[in-house]
């Protein structure tokens, strides 16, 4: 089954082709990061305006890469939520209309399910069940994953997401938007000069809190004026140490509590080299396995949507063969707020 996937939930347009027999055949991406930079953040209306310019040209690129034509497509997947309503509507309207015109089934994919399953696109993919850490600008969650659509939330952030804390701290230090990756780069030049708190490290549960850390950075910055580049680098170093230590500790706690020995990390912060270093060391000590998506699939992309969609479309097809009832709905509707817990097995 060849599935075309569309991602347009925020500031990246992604299109990909996934084949259930031959794996990922092609993926094309356009990032709007540069466009939003001068606004200091994502402008939803501008994001939507860009998605509608990019979606079909990227589709042509993906088809060409895979040496396929529209006639080869057996199903279409699109990000239905959560995300920016207007941006989601662009991908959804194009995907649904294309599915309608090609007379193939379509499925709306939960963006986070895409991220959660992204490591399964790699060679030697992790086997269910596993513990998943989803860390990005919008999320910091620990989950137990028993299969497609079988997700149990183990822990969540009580305030800022980890990636959000990275971006906000970067802004405090005067780094340019989006600051997270810049902050990580700066941290490489720093060393252990300051001490920041580790909020909720020993809270006894699997929840996170990162907003206090941001405030502590502000205090630290105010107490060390003028902020030289060297001081900024040392603050960045300690900030990254704090966040990665909290994330690593909670991951190991989650493995212990669930009795699982398999950890999967996804989301933009999952690309952080220091986090990977710590998780690799900690899991090795406990004889556990840790998997990551390739760096380009940590951030938003079409490949993860095509993959998650293919899993669901395949299951729907089998169900339909049994019941004999075709159930295709070509309505263009999005779910800007969509709780992952509402997802069910396909």
């Amino acid at each position: 089954m060849l599935v075309l996937g569309f991602e347009s939930s925020c500031d990246e347009t992604g299109v990909a082709l996934y084949d259930t027999q031959h794996g990922l055949l092609a993926h094309a991406l356009h990032s709007q990061v540069a466009m939003h930079a001068e606004f200091g953040g994502v402008v939803p209306e501008l994001a939507s305006r860009d998605h509608i310019r990019r979606a079909l040209p990227l589709t042509e690129i993906a088809l060409k890469q895979a040496n396929k034509t529209l006639a080869d497509i057996d199903g279409i997947a699109y990000t239905q939520g959560p995300g920016l309503a207007g941006a989601l509507l662009v991908g959804t309207s194009i995907a649904q209309s294309l599915a309608f015109a090609l007379n193939v089934p379509s499925v709306g994919v939960h963006h986070l399910e895409g991220h959660l399953l992204a490591p399964l696109l790699e060679e030697n993919p992790p086997q269910f069940p596993f513990v998943a850490l989803l860390v990005s600008g919008g999320h910091s969650q620990l989950m137990r994953i028993d299969g497609i659509g079988q997700y149990q939330l183990l822990g969540d952030t009580l305030d800022d997401a980890a990636g959000e804390a990275f971006d906000k701290t970067a802004k405090l230090l005067g780094l340019s938007y989006p600051g997270g990756p810049e902050l990580a780069k700066l941290a490489d030049k720093g060393s252990a000069k300051f001490k920041l708190p580790r909020p909720m490290l020993n809270s006894g549960d699997l929840n996170f809190s990162f907003s206090g850390l941001k405030t502590a950075v502000l205090t630290l910055a105010n107490n060390n004026q003028p902020l030289t580049d060297a001081i900024k680098a040392d603050i960045a170093w300690e900030f990254q140490e704090a966040v990665t230590e909290i994330l690593t500790t909670k991951c190991m706690n989650a493995l212990r509590e669930t009795g699982l020995d398999n950890l999967v990390v996804s989301g933009g912060v999952g690309a952080n080299a220091r986090l990977r270093e710590k998780l690799n060391a900690a899991t090795k000590r406990k004889l556990c396995k840790v998997s990551y998506p390739r760096l380009e699939f940590c951030t938003d992309n079409g490949a993860m949507i095509a993959f998650a969609g293919a899993m669901r479309l395949e299951a729907m097809r089998l169900e339909q063969l049994k019941s004999g009832k075709p159930q295709q709905n070509y309505s263009v509707s999005v779910k800007p707020r969509w709780d992952l817990a509402e997802l069910q097995m396909p």
Binding site: G40, S48, R49, S97, L98, Y330
Partner: protein
């Protein structure tokens, strides 16, 4: 020639299907539900006439200006259908569609653009072709461009939203404000179809991926620098 036309730029969903000399339409008040209904209603229209997308020669859509999300849905649907069925597309300015739908030849079109503004154009039909006497713009109703002469018709949702101000601006020009919904307040798919047909016939339709919205209002956010300078939208 067989053509499908659609408009989702207002709180109405408007569809028209032209099969040779016959035209079938669907017009429905949907509020904000046009996105959910557009493809199912196209299916109903095609099924009821026993036609498939591949039997068509092209797709026309209301490109805007109008509600940003609405005009993007029309564009997205035109893109997806056109790309999937290998059909060319024609986007029609919604203000021209309102003028066409009015049945008059001298029309001042004002659409409610929200935020205290209107989308505005002055259009005259000569030998079956619409000419823009005053080009499509977004402005405050009191700043609407003034006109010479009389016998003008006012059409579009802006006339209901800002009737006092607009009536005053055009007090020397107006013959009548067209009140009836089907006669001019919205860009109907039927009007879009009539305007698009000569474009298709002339071979000037575009590939589906070039189905793009017309926004007119392009200043939608302030840069960091502009905010620091205390500027406002």
């Amino acid at each position: 020639m067989n053509l499908l036309a659609l408009d989702t730029s207002t709180e109405f969903l408007s569809l028209a299907l032209k099969l040779g000399e016959r035209t079938f339409t669907h017009y429905q008040e949907t509020g904000s539900a046009s996105s959910q209904l557009v493809l199912p209603q196209i299916q109903v229209l095609l099924d009821s006439t026993n036609v498939q997308l591949k039997d068509l020669d092209g797709i026309a859509f209301g490109a805007g200006p109008g509600a940003f999300t609405g005009v993007r849905i029309a564009s997205g649907v035109a893109q997806g259908l056109g790309f999937g069925a290998n059909l060319p597309v024609v986007g029609i300015n919604t203000l021209t569609a309102v003028a066409e739908a009015s049945g008059q030849d001298k029309v001042i079109v004002c659409l409610d653009a929200r935020m205290g503004e209107i989308y505005h154009a002055v259009l005259v039909k000569q030998n079956g072709i619409w000419l823009e006497i005053s080009e499509t713009k977004v402005c405050k109703p009191q700043d609407a461009p003034t006109l010479e002469g009389g016998d003008w018709f006012g059409a579009g949702s802006g006339w209901a939203a800002y009737s006092d101000v607009l009536t005053q601006v055009y007090t020397d020009n107006l013959s009548q404000i067209l009140p009836n919904i089907l006669q001019g307040i919205t860009p109907t798919a039927e009007a879009i179809l009539r305007l698009a047909q000569p474009v298709f016939a002339a071979g000037q339709a575009k590939p589906a991926m070039e189905a793009m919205p017309i926004y007119i209002r392009n200043r939608v956010a302030l840069t960091t620098l502009e905010r620091e300078q205390g500027l406002r939208l």
